[in-house]
Amino acid sequence: MTAPAAIAHDPHGGHPTNTGLSNEKLTMWAFLGSECLLFGALISTYLLYKGRSVSGPLPEDVYDIPFTSASSFMLLMSSLTMVLSLAAIQRGDHRRLRLWLLATASLGGLFITGQIYEFTTFYREGLSLSTNLFGSTFFVLTGFHGVHVSLGILMLLSLFGLSMRGKLPTERAEAVEIAGLYWHFVDIVWIVIFTVVYLIP
């Protein structure tokens, strides 16, 4: 069999590509690998300037750990509902797929609402992007993460809309898997941020 023919008729059930992997999935993993560098830069900048602010408010003046812990639990829960939505479409259960997609987007929405509340509270307490080094690095880091979560919510709602219109058949389960990869990534980034920024003094 010639090489192109071998690619077109993969006997192992893989994708008809040179790697045997879906190009979309491969691209998403490469993108997530590069995102590690982006968030690595933001977290490193936060660490670099940690404890270097010469005027307040400082982290211990503004952090509300019980509130942020509740937000973290919501994002963690959304990772579970995301993976349950993937399991649902893989077994052809489209009603549950929509239910779990909506649950994931809602939990993400609650997380973002919490972040907006936190930001406005900090601002009222005198911390803004230009107040001190803590304010600059904190808002840029958590703000970038918040934007990622918001984009993830848009992805999930798009999938929900596609499913409602019957344009997300079981054969396209990979679309949910790829959106799920992005969603879980924002969760793992939060795992690091929650520990490094909030919990470690």
Binding site: S79, A87, D187
Partner: protein
Amino acid sequence: MATKSAPAENHPVETAGHEDVEHPSESKYWKIFWILFVITAVEVALYYWELPGNVNINNSALGLLAIAKFIVVVGYFMHLKFDSRLLRRLFVAGIILALIVYMIVLLSMGVFIAPPADRNSGFIGT
């Protein structure tokens, strides 16, 4: 509208790669979630109740718990444990590259060497 079928214990899924990969069952996903939930609860508890010894023990414990959560989510929820080796290498390469680059930056800036109070000397901050 599709009908619901009973969840298999470990169902094979045709995804990327030259073989059918086995994703965990729904009950396993729930178990993993509860493990993550407990780890997060322990992390929050460690914030309030310090372990005996100096503060570095607490910080190390928090760091290790975060790494454990990271690995569990990537391995099970993102299925990297079950997926193609190429995908694993792509992601791990990103993490290792980020760790090396930023460790060099942080070490060269003396972040892990001197306490913040000492590092302020000669530094213009706001």
